[in-house]
C-alpha cells in the first residue's frame, strides 16, 4: 500500500484529499500517474494532461522518474504559491 495526498487546486478538481492505494512493487511516479489517469474524467485530465503537476515522495520534491516503494507517502500538488 501507499498513502496518496492531493492538495489545493488538484484536491478540488479530484474531489478528494487522498487515499490508500494498493502498490506491491517499486514503480516510478510516472507509472503511478498513468495508473491514476486511467480512472478517466478529472483523473485523466489532471494526471495525463497537466504538465505543471508536482510530486513529493515522503515529503521531498521528486522528478517523475523517482521510484515509489510500498509504504511511501506520495503527494501531488500544483506549483506552490506561499509567502
Amino acid at each position: 500500500m501507499i498513502q496518496l495526498l492531493y492538495f489545493a487546486r488538484l484536491r478540488e478538481a479530484l474531489g478528494s484529499d487522498g487515499e490508500s492505494l494498493d502498490w506491491q512493487e517499486p514503480g516510478t511516479v510516472a507509472a503511478l500517474k498513468q495508473k491514476l489517469a486511467t480512472r478517466g474524467g478529472a483523473w485523466q485530465e489532471q494526471f495525463a494532461g497537466n504538465t505543471s503537476l508536482r510530486a513529493a515522495v515522503n515529503q521531498e520534491l521528486v522528478p517523475d522518474t523517482m521510484l515509489i516503494k510500498p509504504g511511501d507517502e506520495v503527494a501531488f500538488f500544483p506549483p506552490v504559491t506561499g509567502g
Partner: protein, 149 residues
C-alpha cells in the same frame, strides 16, 4: 533555528527582540513581513486562504534555513508562516535573520524568502467579487530564486 506554521497572528517586535537577545554578539537583525494586499492584479481581495502540506512544510522550511546558514555567517533565523483564511492587511509570513554584520543578514533573509516562495508547499486561494480562485505561480518568483544559483 525555528520554524512555525500557525493560524494565529504574530508580533514582529516580540519575535525580533526574543531572537536578538539570544545573541549578544549580533549587530544586525533583518526581517521580512508579508502582508495580504487589498488588490492583486487589479482585483480587490476579500480574503486569502492558505493551504499547506503538514509535515513537508516544516521540513522544507527547515532545509531552506539550513542552506542559508551554510552560505552566510548568520547566528540564527526564524520563519513563521500563517495558514487558514486571512483578511486584507493581515500578516502572512515573517522571516527574521540575526548576524554579526548586516550584509549577511540581508542576503540570507532575501534568500530564505525567495526559496520559501518557490519550494515550501503552501497554496493561496483568493476570494474576489468574481468568486474564489487559486493563485498561479509567478515567473518573477522563479527569476528571484535563480539569482542565487
Amino acid at each position: 533555528m525555528m520554524v512555525r506554521v500557525q493560524q494565529e497572528d504574530f508580533d514582529v517586535g516580540v519575535e525580533t527582540t526574543r531572537l536578538r537577545l539570544q545573541y549578544p554578539q549580533a549587530g544586525a537583525v533583518v526581517s521580512f513581513t508579508g502582508q495580504v494586499r487589498d488588490l492583486n492584479d487589479g482585483q480587490s481581495i476579500a480574503s486569502l486562504t492558505l493551504e499547506h502540506y503538514p509535515g513537508m512544510t516544516e521540513k522544507s522550511l527547515a532545509a531552506i534555513v539550513e542552506q542559508a546558514k551554510q552560505r552566510w555567517h548568520i547566528f540564527d533565523a526564524l520563519v513563521i508562516h500563517r495558514i487558514g483564511t486571512l483578511p486584507p492587511q493581515a500578516q502572512i509570513v515573517l522571516v527574521i535573520v540575526v548576524s554579526a554584520h548586516r550584509g549577511d543578514a540581508f542576503a540570507a533573509c532575501e534568500f530564505i524568502m525567495d526559496y520559501l516562495k518557490t519550494e515550501a508547499p503552501f497554496w493561496k486561494k483568493e476570494v474576489t467579487p468574481e468568486g474564489a480562485k487559486w493563485l498561479d505561480e509567478r515567473a518573477s518568483d522563479h527569476a528571484a530564486r535563480e539569482r542565487w544559483q
